[in-house]
């Protein structure tokens, strides 16, 4: 540690290395958390169900989305991105996933919610397969940390069915 500049450089490098280690340990501490989220979706009403001029089915519905995602939050969580997707299969595609609604949860207090909404994004099929279709509603979430790796998970809720006739 010979001169002023040498010491300043050594201190800067060492302090940043230590900061990197602290962030790595903080990120690893997230694995100590065992989350127990829950969710429920009610389809209150099918607003309309039409075949578009380009030949694709479209449906609009009103939903009650309720969830408790508070256990996902740790001291190292910045926000949780959550979205609801309708999943079903058709002869053309083995899996169709249509995102109906999404939101950002900025903190633990906002993580227990009940949302009453119509679908934020349009539910359009590639074709005319939706009449009488059985589908799952899956709530996906991405936990975005302050430092470290993002993790994604979901809850699958099966057993929803669309009407047999257009309305």
């Amino acid at each position: 540690m010979h001169s002023f500049g040498y010491r300043a450089n050594a201190l800067l490098t060492f302090s940043l290395t230590i900061l990197a280690f602290m962030c790595a340990i903080a990120s690893l501490s997230d694995s100590l958390n065992s989350p127990s989220p829950s969710a429920q979706v009610q389809v209150l009403n099918i607003n309309w169900f039409q075949k578009q001029p380009n030949g694709n089915d479209e449906v609009s519905m009103t939903l009650n989305i309720s969830a408790d995602l508070q256990s996902l939050f740790t001291w190292n969580t910045k926000q949780v991105f959550v979205y609801l997707a309708a999943e079903y299969d058709t002869p053309k595609n083995s899996l169709n996933q249509i995102s109906l609604w999404d939101g950002i949860i900025p903190s633990k207090e906002h993580a227990k919610f009940l949302i009453h909404t119509s679908n934020k994004y349009r539910f359009i099929d590639q074709g005319t397969n939706l009449r009488g279709k059985e589908f799952n509603l899956t709530l996906h979430w991405h936990v975005m940390p302050k430092t470290g790796k993002m993790l994604a998970d979901k809850i699958v809720m099966p057993g929803y069915r669309l009407p047999v006739e257009y309305r």
Partner: protein, 104 residues
């Protein structure tokens, strides 16, 4: 002749340098442990970063400038008047001839 006294005029001796280096490492590690512990227990990432930042600034103020406390065993450099009494050794003529003798 007036001169402005600055940190450049102060030096650290060898023992002071080693002390400053050890102090820097211990202080930074210590603040890191305190910062992480406090942040984890209060579940606040911001607290951890804040305590650590304060620690880095404090360590910089203590160990980087040439404080006189690091100069308690100053080096005794040779006085210029002594230089003439001990002339620099001259290079000997043998060293210059590096040619190998030609063998027949």
């Amino acid at each position: 002749m007036t001169s402005i006294c600055s940190f450049e005029d102060f030096y650290m001796d060898w023992q002071g340098q080693s002390l400053a280096e050890k102090l820097m490492q211990i202080m930074l590690l210590g603040f890191a442990v305190i910062a992480f512990g406090t942040g984890y227990l209060t579940a606040s990432f911001q607290t951890m970063i804040l305590i650590y930042a304060v620690g880095v600034v404090l360590t910089t103020l203590v160990t980087v400038p040439n404080w006189p406390v690091f100069n308690r065993h100053p080096l005794k450099w040779l006085d210029p008047s002594e230089v003439e009494k001990h002339p620099k050794p001259q290079p000997s003529s043998n060293v210059n001839s590096k040619k190998k003798p030609i063998k027949k």
